[in-house]
């Protein structure tokens, strides 16, 4: 019976196969053409097939070769989710709240991802980032984004 000797590689190989299948599936409308007249689908499809092959090899390897590997650090879900959501929040809020409040809320919020953050420091940092990003990016580099957006009625212009 086959036994998975390296779980990480098994998952990794499978992930590569899934990625290639996704590329094949989403590209199935693309014309593949032939080697003389390659269509837009030729290159991605060939690469996907190649990646499937490599994925299979990685899986085979994971069944045959046992690897000593240091274990991962315990997952810190709260931190990971906060850090991933921070840019998403930034993207959603920027045009509505404006740069200053978005930056303030995002920096303040994401600093909770650290175990060592104190609320005083976090607020100070958030204020600092909000002010300096407005000065640097809207004033000095004139990025097309206003300091306060339409959701902040009294300050936006």
């Amino acid at each position: 019976m086959l036994k998975i000797r390296n779980g990480r590689d098994f998952v990794g190989g499978a992930a590569m196969i899934v990625v290639s299948l996704l590329f094949i599936a989403f590209g199935r409308e693309l014309d593949v053409g032939n080697s003389f007249q390659m269509g837009p689908g030729y290159f991605p499809v060939m690469l996907s097939l190649l990646l499937i092959g490599i994925g299979v090899l990685i899986i085979v390897q994971s069944l045959v070769v046992a690897v000593r590997d240091e274990p991962d650090a315990p997952a810190n879900w709260k931190a990971s989710i906060l850090v991933i959501l921070a840019p998403v929040f930034f993207g959603l809020a920027l045009s509505r709240l404006g740069l200053a409040p978005t930056m303030f809320l995002m920096v303040g919020g994401v600093s909770c991802a650290s175990r060592y953050a104190g609320w005083r420091h976090s607020i100070a940092l958030a204020l600092f980032m909000a002010i300096s990003s407005v000065v640097l990016f809207t004033r000095l580099l004139s990025l097309p984004v206003s300091a306060f957006g339409p959701w902040i009625p009294f300050l936006s212009n």
Partner: protein, 499 residues
């Protein structure tokens, strides 16, 4: 003298007051961010790229080059002072540099790193001046088949030099190539993998991708096992080297520079490989080999010279062929494209002031670093003490604004967030992100040249072996591949990376 007039042209660009200023700001910012633990050159450049968008192309590239050396140098400072290599190329510096610091010789270690880097940088700049024009002249004769084979060689070599599993490195290259095919197909104008999202017609933005993979992903990793960094940095004194020190570092600096200059040109090489190789070499031949690991000054001098020489000469294939050998050069290529310059052999003839200006600025940048670093070391030491929990929210903030400013669109911010998740998952599965970025950058060029070559040959794949140049490039690629696959070499490779 041709070279002389070229250099004068370069000096005229590089020594313009504004360009000197941008170079200086670049070195300063690069050092400041590179010193911060956990931020290497790739992340630093990815983060700071957007601030150069508004500049003239020459100024932008001069500033970026400054950021690159600054970040590289900042990494050595953290390696020596707190045993925390900011990037892979200063891993070996940390071994003896930190031991020197513990014995009260931090100043000497830093001075050695600075002098070695400056010497190596100057020599490598001269090499660049000599080697670049003839290489570009050869490259101008390249047809699509030769270019395709050259890129294959570059990708294979980058796998060969990656640490970890080869299969996984190949998987990452292909994943990167696939990601590169997102966007409008150049030949037919057909949209590919766009999902009716207008922002994707130009493809995934590589700044957003690399910020996600190298910037945000690094934060995710650091927060997994966050522990209070109590930075016990003492006052740094004694920057002067003794007569004996000079005698001891002379040889290692020369050897490190030579080794680094050659390894830097190799695709996939650059700073990291150079520093490892130089350390290994010194360990074998140094008369003070017994001291290695306990604070030998040779073990700081050699890798520091080598990694700076390698960093410098890795510009050669990027500037002359348009082929990036490592992620940093990939970012540089991206920056050139954003500035409206097509990297490749034509840059020398079409943009001579940009090309030579950049080269001269490399030398002046290295000089600035020495002047900047030794007296300002106290400032960098203070920056080291900024706690991580205040650092990472600021980094995320700057990355968000940076990603937004690429196209003034929040779409790239979402792309960045998405790629931080992809990068994090890949790192959990022990896949390296560097080959992915190289594949991503080279993908469109590789496909274009493949399709053109096949069109010329009317679908006959032997075109790649009929041209002698293309054939020899492919043979070299095969040899490299064979070397990596042969077990004795791969064992050596593991040794080099575990040392």
């Amino acid at each position: 003298m041709d070279i002389l007039s070229d250099l004068l042209l370069g000096a005229a660009t590089a020594f313009q007051p504004m360009n000197l200023l941008y170079g200086f700001i670049g070195c300063l910012l690069g050092t400041a961010i590179g010193v911060l633990p956990g931020l290497g050159p790739t992340a630093t450049i990815a983060m700071l790229l957007p601030i150069t968008f508004g500049l003239q192309p020459e100024s932008a590239l001069i500033m970026l080059a400054g950021i690159f050396y600054g970040a590289q140098y900042g990494g050595s400072t953290t390696a020596i002072l707190i045993n925390l290599p900011g990037e892979s190329s200063s891993v070996v510096t940390a071994i003896d540099g930190y031991q020197m610091a513990r014995r009260g010789r931090a100043g000497a270690a830093l001075a050695t790193a600075a002098l070695g880097s400056f010497f190596a940088g100057s020599v490598a700049t001269v090499l660049l001046v000599i080697a670049a024009p003839p290489l570009a002249a050869v490259a101008l004769k390249f047809g699509p088949a030769e270019y395709f084979s050259l890129m294959v060689l570059g990708l294979v070599a980058s796998v060969a030099l990656a640490s970890g599993s080869l299969l996984k490195a190949f998987a990452m290259i292909i994943f990167g190539l696939l990601l590169g095919s997102v966007g409008t197909d150049v030949e037919s104008g057909m949209p590919r993998y766009i999902f009716s999202i207008p922002e994707l017609y130009d493809g995934l933005n590589f700044v957003a991708v690399s910020m996600g993979i190298f910037g945000i992903c690094e934060i995710l990793r650091n927060l997994e096992n966050e522990h209070e960094r109590s930075v016990g940095v003492k006052k740094v004194s004694g920057l002067m080297l003794t007569h004996d020190d000079f005698r001891r570092i002379r040889g290692p600096i020369l050897r490190g520079t030579t080794l680094g200059s050659f390894l830097g040109v190799l695709p996939g090489g650059g700073a990291m490989l150079s520093s490892f190789a130089a350390y290994a070499l010194e360990k074998r031949i140094s008369p003070n080999r017994a001291e290695f690991g306990k604070g030998a000054i040779e073990a700081v001098a050699a890798p520091e010279s080598a990694n700076n020489a390698g960093a410098q000469t890795s510009f050669i294939p990027m500037l002359t062929l348009g082929i990036p050998g490592n992620p940093v050069m990939a970012l540089m290529v991206g920056a050139m494209i954003i500035q409206g310059i097509t990297p490749g052999p034509n840059v020398i003839s079409e943009e001579p002031d940009l090309f030579w200006g950049m080269i001269v600025s490399m030398w002046s940048g290295n000089l600035m670093l020495v002047i900047l670093n030794l007296p300002l070391i106290g400032l960098w030491v203070r920056m080291l003490t900024i706690p991580y929990h205040l650092l990472f929210p600021a980094i995320i903030g700057f990355c968000c604004i940076g990603a937004y400013s690429i196209n003034n669109s929040v779409f790239d911010v979402f792309i960045m967030a998405g790629f931080s998740v992809i990068g994090f998952t890949l790192s959990k599965l022990r896949f390296e992100p560097a080959p992915l970025l190289l594949g991503f950058i080279l993908g469109p060029m590789l496909e274009e040249n493949l399709r053109r070559a096949m069109l010329i040959s009317q679908g006959d794949p032997t075109i790649f072996v009929r041209s002698p140049l293309s054939l020899s490039l492919l043979i070299v690629a095969l040899i490299v591949l064979g070397m990596v696959l042969s077990p004795s070499i791969s064992r050596k490779r593991d040794e080099a990376f575990t040392e």
